[in-house]
């Protein structure tokens, strides 16, 4: 059983790739490099749909990082835990089978890790281009610092 798996969800389009960018920053973080893969795993995935259930398998705790659209101001940070995730919409998902749907399915099948936390950043319209917006680039840096601390806390390591 893996203690903590952090999954960056996204697509190559505009701000929708923010989940991948947070993972890239976490991979460069020296504080996290010392943990073996049995304790911490960092992965990226492209619109996994129900495959997210496979990606969460055998982990005690899963952190998901994704772009979110709830109608809040662009750049707003969100944090949803376990069942709270099911309440968010799936406007960014392929064929509507997004994170919330996968979590709902996982709960129905009793196949979810004990703790799943979704870290989201509110984005605006997805532009079909490869660049991130300036606002979201800044938000990614802030979120990666917060998640680093949460990872250290989760793994009982000293938090800066």
């Amino acid at each position: 059983m893996i203690k903590l798996r952090v999954i960056g969800i996204g697509s190559p389009f505009g701000d929708d790739q923010l989940g991948w960018e947070v993972i890239k920053l976490l991979e460069k973080c020296l504080d996290l490099n010392s943990f073996p893969s049995s304790q911490l795993q960092l992965i990226c995935c492209d619109r996994p749909g129900l495959y997210l259930l496979e990606l969460m398998r055998d982990a005690n705790t899963v952190f998901l990082i994704d772009a979110v659209v709830t109608g809040a101001e662009c750049g707003t940070f969100h944090r949803f835990k376990n069942q709270e995730i099911e309440a968010i919409g799936n406007p960014l998902s392929s064929h509507a089978l997004g994170v919330a749907y996968a979590i709902k399915m996982g709960r129905a099948l009793d196949e979810l890790p004990p703790t799943v936390i979704l870290y989201g950043i509110e984005i605006g319209d997805i532009h079909h281009q490869s660049r991130l917006s300036t606002l979201i680039i800044q938000a990614i840096k802030t979120l990666s610092k917060q998640i680093t601390n949460d990872i250290l806390q989760c793994l009982d390591a000293p938090v800066e």
Partner: protein, 432 residues
């Protein structure tokens, strides 16, 4: 006061990731006065995007047309371009393309059967609701869908918008260790396929039987995927380059997508049409299974589409097993390409049916023109025809919610891109 009673059922256009759809039905004196299915498909734009692009950019571009069936768009395009260049890929490439296609059918059909269609027939609002009562069946769907994704990754590098295919073959050949691991997974899923077929046969499927024309590819030696003639169950049998002689695309004022008719009549493409036309090409284990269930093909009951998909899921697993068992590491994984000018045609069987493409290239291999006729566009007229008949039979005096749910179920049998969501029809009713 008018003695006529008129009602309009409006289904507003909804934004979707892979397409947009809407349905508008006008009812007068308990008869359908007009019925319009509006689908907005991206391939029309892609045809223009492709102009001026080199042949070696085409596969990466067309893979972006659909998140569920990128392999189909890549395969029809590669066959068309190879015809332009007079390239005949070797048997290894031919086999791998079938394997690639098995992954896509498996992934798409498993998703549709378990997560979109089955809740309809079992009376659940959604698949997560169904999972509470049918957890083993849902888990089986997840396993089969995951296997489909694994097959696509095996050759495509990734399952979403794969990048492994090139004109002439594949950039890289999987090694024998990868083949062995995949073969174990494939073989482990054979029993799931058998169970799936038996299970869908137990569903209480409505009798939605009409007379209509089925169209699919047909190959003399195998169940069709990449090659064959275009055949109908009403006597049509043509080579793919003669598509325009018999099929006519045209614009309807209410939809961005072109309609397509076969000799002025709607027709069906997709799994049910394929099974109906190619039933005799199914391998004996599937024939044996079908002999134990009381459903016979050819069938004109559109509700039997779910059975046809289950048959094709079973076929894909057996076919993948056959191909992987015979796998030999090739000397080269693609044919050498020498660009030349010409016109080429590609027609393959996407999960949702016939996908026809035509490319005109210049002597440098740059696209001068491209045409893409996707299956959902071809099925539009048939869906409208089906709704006309089925809603009338169902009873137009039924409450709006029932009409909407029934319309959704009818449309979902065709698995168009707009069926991706389980509840895509937000209906407004005006009765006067």
């Amino acid at each position: 006061m008018s003695k006529h009673k008129t009602s309009t059922i409006l289904v507003p256009i909804l934004a979707r990731v892979e397409g947009e759809g809407a349905l508008e039905i006008r009812i007068r004196d308990q008869k359908i006065k007009s019925l319009q299915l509006k689908i907005y498909e991206p391939p029309r734009l892609f045809e223009k995007f492709l102009e001026g692009r080199s042949y070696n950019e085409v596969l990466d571009m067309v893979a972006r047309i659909c998140g569920i069936c990128p392999v189909a768009y890549q395969m029809s395009a590669t066959h068309a371009i190879e015809q332009c260049f007079s390239v005949e890929p070797p048997p290894w490439v031919r086999d791998m393309r079938r394997l690639f296609y098995c992954g896509e059918w498996l992934e798409s059909h498993s998703l549709h059967i378990h997560f979109l269609a089955a809740p309809d027939f079992l009376g659940f609002k959604s698949a997560p609701d169904m999972a509470k009562t049918y957890p083993d069946e849902i888990r089986r769907g997840l396993r089969l869908q995951a296997l489909g994704n694994e097959l696509i990754r095996f050759l495509g590098g990734r399952s979403v918008h794969p990048v492994g295919a090139c004109i002439g073959g594949f950039y890289k050949a999987p090694n024998l260790a990868q083949v062995k691991a995949l073969l174990e997974h494939v073989s482990a899923c054979v029993s799931d396929c058998e169970a799936l077929l038996q299970w869908v046969a137990t569903l209480a499927l409505p009798n939605n039987t009409h007379d209509f024309t089925c169209v699919s590819l047909r190959h003399p030696c195998e169940y069709p995927m990449n090659e064959g003639q275009i055949v109908s169950d009403h006597g049509l049998a043509i080579t793919i380059d003669r598509f325009d002689d018999y099929f006519k695309e045209f614009q309807v004022p209410y939809s961005n997508a072109l309609h397509c008719l076969l000799q002025n009549k709607p027709y069906l493409v997709g799994p049910l049409a394929r099974v109906n036309i190619n039933y005799d090409k199914l391998p004996s284990p599937i024939m044996d299974s079908l002999s134990h269930i009381n459903i016979h093909f050819p069938s004109k009951n559109m509700a039997h589409s779910i059975i046809a998909r289950a048959i094709e899921v079973y076929y894909c697993v057996l076919e993948a097993q056959r191909i992987l068992n015979a796998y030999v590491y090739p000397e080269t994984s693609f044919s050498t390409i020498q660009p030349s000018s010409g016109i080429g045609f590609g027609c393959t069987e996407a999960p949702r049916g016939l996908l026809w493409q035509r490319y005109e290239l210049d002597d440098q291999g740059v696209v001068k023109s491209a045409r893409i006729v996707p299956p959902t566009s071809q099925n539009q007229a048939r869906i409208e025809e089906d709704l006309h008949i089925s809603l009338q039979q169902f009873g137009l005096n039924k409450p709006d919610d029932e009409l909407r749910a029934y319309s959704e179920m009818i449309i979902r049998n065709y698995d168009p891109c707009i069926s991706c969501s389980t509840h895509f029809l937000t209906m407004t009713v005006q009765r006067t």
